[in-house]
């Protein structure tokens, strides 16, 4: 493998690492946001319906 190809591979891995790490963190954040939303709409829905 030439040094240019090695550089390309290192660059690819660095970008991939960024995607993998930020991807997993953002999935947690988005689903965490969904969690907060469910809690919120559950609280909003409760007094109106008098249930749950």
């Amino acid at each position: 493998m030439s040094w240019i190809e090695q550089l390309q591979q290192m660059d690819l891995l660095a970008q991939g690492g960024f995607v993998a790490l930020s991807g997993l963190v953002i999935v947690f954040l988005v689903l965490g946001l969904f969690y907060a939303t469910i809690k919120l709409i559950d609280r909003l829905g409760r007094p109106k319906d008098g249930s749950g």
Partner: protein, 396 residues
């Protein structure tokens, strides 16, 4: 005269060539898929049309090396028409998601929202496989943007979510890889009862598998069930815009189900729409399995990496549950984490079956279902995110 006969029997003569041998291999592969569908009942609604589509696409060529069902740009065959209309436009996966949304009852998740985090943890395999595929690609002479695109589509196989996998692969215009990627996604979805138990057993002790989980039947108000799909669509659309088509269609289907005034539409989405699109999607995916492109080492590699993604998704969910148990007063059964993948409701059933095998009185189906529906959300968010992040890097 001999030319006329040669023309007339060109299909039979074709089997004497190297391409003909490839065609025979594809017929065997298609036969295996059809056998698994009929004899083993593995995702029959999909594997059977995929198998039959593969037979059609590999029939001896009539025009310029292409089967009549595929045809040319100027005169496309019916499978090419379906591909261009339903896959290239991403229409079929979107329609499937409307149907799936109408089928899914999110109430178990709304009753136990904490389970949503297992739907996030079980996406771990997607990202780790993405990274591993990126390491392998340059060794196959695939660099840069192409490697990124392939790695993204291969990683998503781990979500055990066929439509999302097709959506991502198509978004990156990986037509040549569509066959193996789709077959891997749907095969592993149907093999959940075989793949998941050994992974779960390897990562948990018997004591952990015996953990009981309380279940209180809280009533979820109708207003919450209606607000949920609307608000989730808005949040997903704002935070991860590329996930909006998937989340939006899933949530639209769910709104039809929960609103209570569109009973007929809800039933149509669950039955007629789902069946019709499944048939067309399966046939069209099968048509991408043309021997010339399918019988390659890359196909075996994609299948292997897909399996790897699937195993690591399961492991990610289980390990996350074990990690949470370090802090939780009321421990969760770590097997629940494995249900955080998208294969609904099969994964939840597998987890319940395993809990019952250890202790026949242990009932963890409801928390497992909660994690499983969370996995549906997690996988489409991960799919949208993968498109967004990779597209962003490619555009630089």
């Amino acid at each position: 005269m001999s030319d006329v006969f040669r023309e007339l029997f060109s299909g039979i003569i074709y089997f004497g060539s190297a391409n003909g041998l490839r065609t025979l291999v594809m017929f065997v592969i298609a036969g295996v898929l059809i056998y698994l569908a009929i004899a083993k009942d593995y995702e029959p609604a999909l594997l059977l049309p995929i198998g039959f589509g593969a037979i059609l696409a590999n029939l001896p060529p009539t025009i310029e090396g292409v089967a009549a069902v595929i045809g040319q740009e100027s005169s496309p065959g019916f499978l090419k028409v379906l591909f261009d209309a339903g896959i290239a436009t991403e229409l079929f996966p979107i329609l499937i998601f409307i149907a799936v949304g109408a089928m899914i009852d999110f109430t178990p998740l709304l009753k136990n929202p904490f389970m949503i985090f297992f739907g996030a943890a079980a996406q771990f395999g997607i990202f780790i496989t993405f990274l591993i595929t990126l390491i392998i690609m340059p060794k196959l002479g695939i660099f840069s943007d192409e490697a990124m695109k392939i790695a993204a589509a291969v990683g998503i196989i781990g979500a055990a979510d066929g439509p999302t996998t097709i959506y991502v692969a198509n978004h990156f215009q990986l037509k040549d890889y569509m066959g193996p990627i789709s077959v891997a996604a749907y095969s592993y979805m149907s093999l959940v009862p075989i793949i998941q138990p050994p992974v779960i057993r390897a990562l948990t002790s018997r004591k952990e598998r015996l953990i009981r989980m309380d279940y209180t039947d809280i009533k979820v108000s109708k207003s919450v069930r209606i607000l949920f799909p609307i608000v989730i669509t808005i949040i997903a659309g704002v935070v991860v815009p590329m996930s909006a088509p998937l989340v939006g269609s899933l949530m639209f289907g769910n709104l039809i189900r929960e609103c209570g005034v569109l009973e007929k539409l809800s039933k149509s989405a669950q039955n007629e729409l789902s069946s019709l699109v499944t048939i067309l999607l399966g046939l069209t995916i099968g048509s991408t399995m043309v021997g010339e492109k399918f019988i390659q080492w890359n196909t075996a590699l994609i299948m292997l990496l897909g399996l790897f993604a699937f195993i690591f998704d399961t492991a990610g969910g289980v390990l996350f549950a074990k990690f949470m148990n370090l802090f939780l007063k009321k421990k969760v059964n770590p097997m629940i984490g494995a249900a955080g993948i998208s294969a609904f409701p099969m994964s939840a059933r597998v987890v319940q079956r395993m809990a019952k095998a250890e202790d026949p009185t242990n009932f963890i189906l409801m928390p497992a279902i909660s994690a499983n529906v969370a996995g549906q959300l997690g996988s489409i968010v991960a799919g949208g995110l993968m498109i967004q992040l990779v597209s962003m890097l490619i555009a630089r």
